[in-house]
Assembly symmetry: C2
Homo-oligomer: 146 residues x 2
């Protein structure tokens, strides 16, 4: 396979893994969420507005808690940008969040918009999530214009 | 050199690059800041509460603007965690921010605390910043306990 095709395949695979991450959250599928993460003490998860959670055990527990406290959530992803650097890939996207109630978990907040950086690592089992960092968008200012 | 020593050197080098990043911001040294970044259209910078800035050109301009609008800033980094995965390394840290005035740039916000994920890539010239994602800490809740 030509290098260009390899790269296109990598991009598609990473974007699919990123989509599975949000689908796991939307369907509150903790097993699917667990399967996506790299099993690593140095895996990192920053929920919007929160301090970091480190290591797969604490990360799974944080998702279990968030899923248990989220009645309904739907993500509409915009500005999805995939960047592959050998065996590491990053996805940046804007998470436009729709929820069914007001008492949602820490992944949701006023405004309904977050920016996420998701860093995946290539493994024998496919791309696995190493870092998820989501942050609230506090203003409409778009720094792309600066 | 033994593998353990290599790893220790990598950790130290990455932590030093991370320290240079904050020093460049504190001293408003745009040249030092520019030198730290990977020259890449897919480099990514998320300032706290803001939408992503992509590519070295827009990223430099965002820093120029922030530095021009920051009279005084000092970072006290806590919980610095370095993770090296071959030629990519991540640093997570809590940025405890001290500023001299109230009308500071977008890297500063109410509360004075942010969480940053900084992802570095190994190059012939040393570790270069590929991703900087900083997010405001909106509550004192520490998800490490969940």
């Amino acid at each position: 396979m030509a290098e260009g095709q390899d790269r296109a395949t990598d991009h598609a695979d990473v974007e699919a893994a990123n989509a599975r991450f949000y689908q796991a959250f939307e369907t509150a599928d903790l097993d699917a969420m667990r399967e996506l993460w790299l099993d690593d003490a140095e895996a990192l998860c920053v929920h919007p507005g929160a301090l970091p959670v480190r290591g797969t055990g604490p990360i799974y527990r944080s998702w279990a808690l968030i899923m248990a406290n989220t009645a309904y959530i739907q993500f509409i992803l915009t500005d999805v940008e995939v960047s592959v650097l050998d065996d590491v890939a990053s996805v940046t996207c804007t998470e436009n969040v729709l929820t069914g109630d007001d008492r949602s978990g820490p992944e949701v907040f006023g405004g309904g918009k977050a920016v996420a950086t998701n860093v995946f690592v290539r493994t024998a089992l496919g791309w696995r999530l190493w870092i998820h960092h989501a942050s609230p968008v506090l203003s409409a200012a778009d720094h792309d214009d600066t």
